[in-house]
């Protein structure tokens, strides 16, 4: 975007000022995320750049916070070699939290993506009745404040069968709170809106006559779905799944309310760390999570481009 030739001098000045303002806003967006990366290598327990760090003295930098991440909760942090790593794998708190986050994230993503994709296919059909109202209900977990959702889930998951009493059925069937299943279902609920939004967006550009063509050529509905529809909407499904995974991977409120001590996830461990005694070890976790989100963002961007290419939508 260039200044038009007929611009007055004042407009030229404004144009450059505008570019500077935009630069500052971009800086505001990105600086907080970038700045924690060098700080996580601080050799001192401070949250600011020490003089030695500023003079690029190697002494000022260290990996001690990364090491403390690993050793926190270990039984014998002074061991070496194999004993150290197996101890870390089995006992280190952050490793446990990462395992939990991944188990819960993957399982809830599978539930959310499966149900969400199916529903998006139905919602994209022109015949769908009550489309608007149903869509509003399915998107609502994203809109309703998390604290309200978590509070509702807290009571429901403590005794999921309470309402069966209305039908005269037994009202006690165990609890879902404090179990993996409970947290997974809760996170699936929170991830579903993202799957619905991305998959229906992909289906907007989907040419329904392709399905009819397949049917007229003798394919049954299942073959049509897996051979024609699925390959075309797959990029949308995958980015929806990634959204659902990130939602679960980053979720702390529902975990605080319904998870037990066995379902300690990374965000919950971070939450505890921030609330009690914030140490630069939190910055080390944050750095790892930033790298993780860069990887996810790259994947989603590549998928989006691929989706545009195969659907013939070329960017301007």
């Amino acid at each position: 975007m260039a200044v038009p030739t007929y611009a007055t001098p004042l407009e030229r000045v404004w144009h450059y000022a505008y570019l500077v303002i935009c630069g500052l806003i971009f800086f505001f967006l990105i600086a907080p995320i970038v700045v924690i990366i060098p700080l996580s290598f601080n050799a001192e327990p401070y949250f600011t750049f020490t003089d030695r760090m500023l003079s690029f003295d190697p002494e000022g930098y260290s990996l001690r916070w990364y090491r403390s991440l690993l050793t926190f909760g270990m039984q014998n942090p002074d061991a070496t070699g194999w004993a150290f790593w197996s101890d870390a794998w089995a006992n280190a708190n952050w490793v446990k939290a990462a395992k939990n986050s991944i188990i819960i994230g993957v399982a809830s993503t599978v539930v959310a993506t499966g149900l969400g994709t199916l529903a998006a296919l139905g919602l994209s059909r022109p015949e769908m009745p009550f489309r608007r109202a149903i869509m509003a209900i399915l998107i609502s977990p994203m809109i309703v404040p998390l604290i309200i959702t978590a509070t509702g889930m807290f009571f429901f998951y403590s005794n999921p069968c309470e309402l069966l009493g209305i039908f005269g059925l037994p009202t006690n069937c165990g609890r879902l709170a404090g179990t993996y299943v409970g947290v997974i279902l809760a996170h699936a609920t929170l991830g579903i809106p993202f799957v619905i939004i991305t998959v229906t967006a992909t289906l907007v550009g989907f040419d329904q006559s392709l399905n009819r063509a397949a049917a007229s050529l003798g394919a049954n509905p299942r073959t049509t779905f897996f051979r024609v529809t699925m390959p075309l909407i797959l990029p949308g499904v995958i980015s929806g799944a990634l959204f659902a995974f990130v939602t679960s991977f980053d979720e702390v409120v529902a975990v605080l309310f319904i998870a037990g001590p066995d379902q300690q996830t990374i965000p919950r461990q971070m939450w505890n760390g921030i609330r009690e005694q914030i140490s630069p070890a939190i910055l080390a976790v944050a750095t790892l999570l930033v790298i993780f989100s860069i990887a996810l963002l790259t994947t989603v961007e590549l998928l989006r481009r691929r989706s545009e290419r195969i659907r013939g939508v070329t960017p301007r």
Partner: protein, 437 residues
């Protein structure tokens, strides 16, 4: 009828052929002789049912794990049987005697009997907790009296109970017990609006130093508005730049918007804590530049400033993305036309460009506002006491005071506001147009 490509014509022709077979009512029919209208309706209802069946599993899942639990929770805001279920005889006395009636010996006898039964069943704590919401400090009165009454109590009950603790004669306590004697109550909503019922049943404001909720609601809406306006001011130029740059460059810059969007909320909140604290990076830079003295370090966190800065940063992408997708579709020749007709660049922007961005602005502003109103994590971590929002109060009632009915009443009011905004969003923007990245 001559058009062979028209399916209706083809069917009509077939139907015409069938009329020779004795069907002479003149209605259009399909090849197998059914009336066309009915066949079409059947096939459409089949298609509708198929589409609905695809959505049904998810709809059932959301209803069971999301809608019903929230409904169940909200029920607590107007239904609390903590007192009435465990104090049946006294509740009956209240039902039979009008408000303002002095408790007679029958009432005291009912109270003593209920206390005794409740202490036996170990439910006296629940009863005390329920009354404690309205008259603070009475939980121990119930449990302590319960212990004594369990050992035995002799009539006259009024004198006996007053001897155990003279607080039993307090009219405020009796008024609270009367309110609690019916499980259905609007009192939690009254409390959520800083109102209370006087002894004679009239509604009045609570004392000034106890008025917190209305102020918190106002603060929540005010801060959300401030944050929405700031995200608009910051988001508009950026969205405009991204929309007018060539695709290659704008895709590159878009990463700077999307990376924060994909980064964990806790990570972003943590980095603001690190940047804004008194010994943090920003204060260090300002001191080094000499803007502030070493003693004048700014308090930018654990107050409203912290909440506003961190939430603006977190919600900014939700403003930029809808604005960007609308601005991308604006034809630049309109502005050029305006300029060529003599408009100054400011007029062209104000009268031609800006009105076209309004759909994106509406979508972004509503989304940011809706998300800000319900924010919990960021204010809890960086808000201190002056930056707490209504969500934090709900969490406090859930986990610290355990006044779940109060939490539910606050949640119901907040949810009502959010759903109203959601409805407006759906009317104005349409949920289908919600886009992510």
């Amino acid at each position: 009828m001559a058009n062979a490509l028209d399916p209706h014509a083809a069917i009509a022709t077939t139907a015409g052929g069938l009329t020779d077979g004795g069907l002479t009512d003149g209605a259009l029919r399909t090849a197998d002789g059914r009336p066309l209208v009915r066949a079409l309706a059947r096939s459409q209802s089949l298609a509708r049912r198929r589409a609905f069946l695809l959505v049904l599993p998810l709809l059932a899942f959301i209803l069971i794990t999301f809608v019903v639990p929230i409904g169940q929770m909200l029920q607590r805001s107007f239904y609390n049987d903590g007192f009435s279920a465990h104090m049946p005889q006294l509740s009956q006395w209240f039902a039979g005697n009008p408000r303002g009636a002095e408790p007679d010996e029958a009432a005291w006898a009912a109270l003593a009997a209920d206390l005794q039964a409740s202490a036996e069943a170990r439910t006296i704590g629940i009863v005390g907790t329920r009354i404690n919401y309205d008259v603070p400090g009475t939980r121990s009165l119930f449990t302590a009296t319960g212990r004594q009454v369990r050992r035995g109590i002799e009539p006259p009950y009024q004198a006996a109970l007053l001897e155990i603790d003279e607080d039993w004669g307090d009219p405020a306590l009796w008024s609270a017990m009367r309110e609690a004697s019916s499980p259905l109550t609007g009192n939690f909503y009254l409390a959520a609006l800083d109102r209370t019922r006087a002894d004679d049943g009239s509604i009045q404001q609570v004392e000034e130093r106890q008025q917190v909720y209305v102020m918190l609601f106002m603060r929540t809406f005010w801060l959300s508005l401030v944050i929405t306006v700031i995200t608009f001011v910051l988001g508009f130029p950026v969205a405009h730049l991204l929309a007018t740059l060539p695709m290659r460059k704008s895709n590159l810059l878009m990463i700077l918007v999307l990376l924060p969007f994909w980064t964990s909320l806790l990570v972003r909140t943590t980095s603001w804590m690190v940047l804004l604290q008194q010994q943090g990076v920003i204060n260090d830079i300002l001191t080094w530049l000499g803007v502030i003295g070493p003693d004048g370090r700014l308090q930018m966190i654990y107050n409203q400033t912290g909440t506003i800065i961190a939430m603006t940063h977190i919600l900014l992408p939700f403003m930029i993305l809808p604005l960007y997708s609308v601005m991308r579709t604006i034809n630049p020749s309109y502005v050029r036309a305006a300029r060529s007709l003599g408009a100054t660049s400011w007029t062209a922007f104000r009268r031609v460009y800006f009105p076209q961005t309004l759909p994106g602005l509406g979508a972004g502003a509503l989304l940011v506002f809706i998300l800000a109103v319900g924010y919990y994590i960021t204010p809890a971590l960086v808000g201190g006491s002056s930056g707490q929002l209504i969500s934090n109060m709900i969490a406090m009632h859930m986990t610290d005071t355990l006044n779940w009915s109060m939490a539910a009443a606050l949640a119901a009011l907040l949810l009502g506001a959010v759903l109203l905004l959601y409805w407006v969003y759906d009317r104005m923007v349409g949920i289908d147009n919600l886009k992510l990245g």
